[in-house]
Structure formats: structure tokens, C-alpha cells
Symmetry: C2
Subunit: 161 residues, 2 copies
Amino acid sequence: MDDDAFPRSIDERERRAWFGLVSTITLLPAALESQLQRESGVSLYEFRVMAALLMQPDHTLQLKDLASVTDGSLSRLSHVVTRLGRRGWVRRYSERTGRATQARLTDRGRQKVVETAPGHIAEVRRLVFDVLSAEQVGALEEITGRINTAIGAQSGSSRTS
Amino acid sequence: MDDDAFPRSIDERERRAWFGLVSTITLLPAALESQLQRESGVSLYEFRVMAALLMQPDHTLQLKDLASVTDGSLSRLSHVVTRLGRRGWVRRYSERTGRATQARLTDRGRQKVVETAPGHIAEVRRLVFDVLSAEQVGALEEITGRINTAIGAQSGSSRTS
DNA sequence: GAAGATTGAAAAGTCAATCTTC
DNA sequence: GAAGATTGACTTTTCAATCTTC
């Protein structure tokens, strides 16, 4: 079987789980993007950035840390902060360009996330938690934790570029 | 607490599972893209398209079905098939433009997927299956199956545009 | 000189409009 | 006229280069 894209390195059970997972990592982001874009005009990543800031006591976070918390590259974050800045939701908070910049959620930004959250959460509930048992929720936490750790491990968790 | 982005609609256990899942759906595609791009110069979506064709007896599939199998929109697929065509790996196989076009893997395309697969599979194994128990693999299949069904349900499973 | 950040160009994805055939 | 497919314009992401401060 040299025609087989998945030789004997992955067994049948794993193969089925893999097809499920690869669909989920494709479809779920798309579904969440869709709801957020349609109802609030923001992307999932933009929402995560603003939500992360909201969770800080002073609604402020250094870009490096914000990038890490949102699982994005510094470059991507910088572009997004610029866009969110144009919309008046986030402000760069450290005068001199160069080392160490803070991003802070504005009042309008805070308002925007708070307005946006319920619809997003409802969608997460509908697509994920409504269809899972309590045990499955527990298993999901453990499984994703392990995968995320494996990803963060060797490549050093830091995403350059 | 109106400062809280996640009010009482999601409990603490769900919240933890959610943070895990949202990281996974962000980090895992990025990690897989990275390996594929670095070692083989193809994207995850391109690989999935070619792998789907390889799994067909005649290495051929109608675009509509190929889009569905790879969880992509027809528009995205069409662009990708054009790119893969330029690289000589896939050929559009239905003369007249308009209704019903087939995509077929070329010999070089077949060779490319077969060469690319082992490295990709090794990465999937390393990041996913090596860190999960047999029970977790089973749970993962069930969980992703349910989520994918929930996504496919109401919005009609079909992705227009 | 390296960590943190920014920037611009290139590549990919999305969305809406269009086109063809059934 | 609608399903299947394509296309182009626009947006977002990525990648590499650059810049500043410690």
C-alpha cells in the first residue's frame, strides 16, 4: 500500500480520532469567527486580545505577554493592535517606540468586549458544552492541556517572527 | 462584576476546558502548518486536499465533494486547486468551465503527498497521540465527533461563498 | 548584541459578484 | 433559476528586515 497516505505509524482508532480533531480545528475557528463577525464585526483573535486585556486589573498588558496569552505572534498582535487602535478600542501605552510597549483597553473597548461576549459565549456553549457530558468536559480539559504542552515544549513556546 | 468577560453562563470547569480548547484550535494548526511548510513547502490545507485525492481509487474528486471532505469553502478550494495546478500536482479534469469540475492528482502530485505524509504523521503523533492514553484517544474521537456534528447541524453543513 | 516591537511586501483567505450548465 | 465553480478585490496573516533600548 504505497497508495496509503497514512501507513502503519497510526492505527485505526487514532486515525479516526485524528480525522475528528483535524475537522474540529478547522471548523470550530471558522464557526466562531462567523458568529463574531456577523453579530459584532470582530474577529476571534481581536476578541481574544480585548478579552485578555479586560481580564487584567488595569486593562493593560505588555505586547509580549498579550501575544503569549492569545497564542499569537508578536507581529500578528502588533498589526491587530494597530487596527483595534484605529477603531478606538485599544491604545498603545508606552511612548517611545522600541523596547516594551503596553496595550490598554479604552472605555469604548471595554464596552465593546462586554457587549460582544454574551453572543460569543452562547455560541461556544451551543457548539461545545451543550453537546458534551460533564465527564467529557473534564476529559477535554486534560486532553487539550497535554496537547498544548506538547506544542509549547520543544519549539520553546515562544513564537518569533 | 460587569468587568468579567465570562459571566455566569459558563461554569468554572467549562471555562478551563474552553481555554484549553481555544488554545489548541489556535496552536495545533499553526504547529502543523509550520512542520509542513518547513519540511515540504505545503500548507496543511494543501496537504489535506492532496491526501483526500490520494484516498480516492482514481485519485479524482469533484470540487464540491473535495471542499466538503477538507472542510473548506468552494472558493478557497478553487484558489488552492489553481495553485496546486501551477505546481503540477493537481489537474482540473473537466473541460468546460461551469457545472461540475473534477480535480485529479497527477503522478508528481501523488509522489509529493507520499513523500510529505511521513513527516506530517510523525508530527501529529508527537503532538497528539504520544501524549494521550488509549482512553483519551477514544474520548477525543467522541468529543470531536459531537462538536463537528453541532457545527454541521443548523448552519446546514454547507459552506457557501 | 539581543529582547521587544514595528513595518512592508508577499501569500493566503474571505466575500461578493459573476458565469455556466442543468 | 439554482447548483457548481470561478474570479477579483479586499482583508488578514506571515515572513523577513529593521529599529530601538537595555
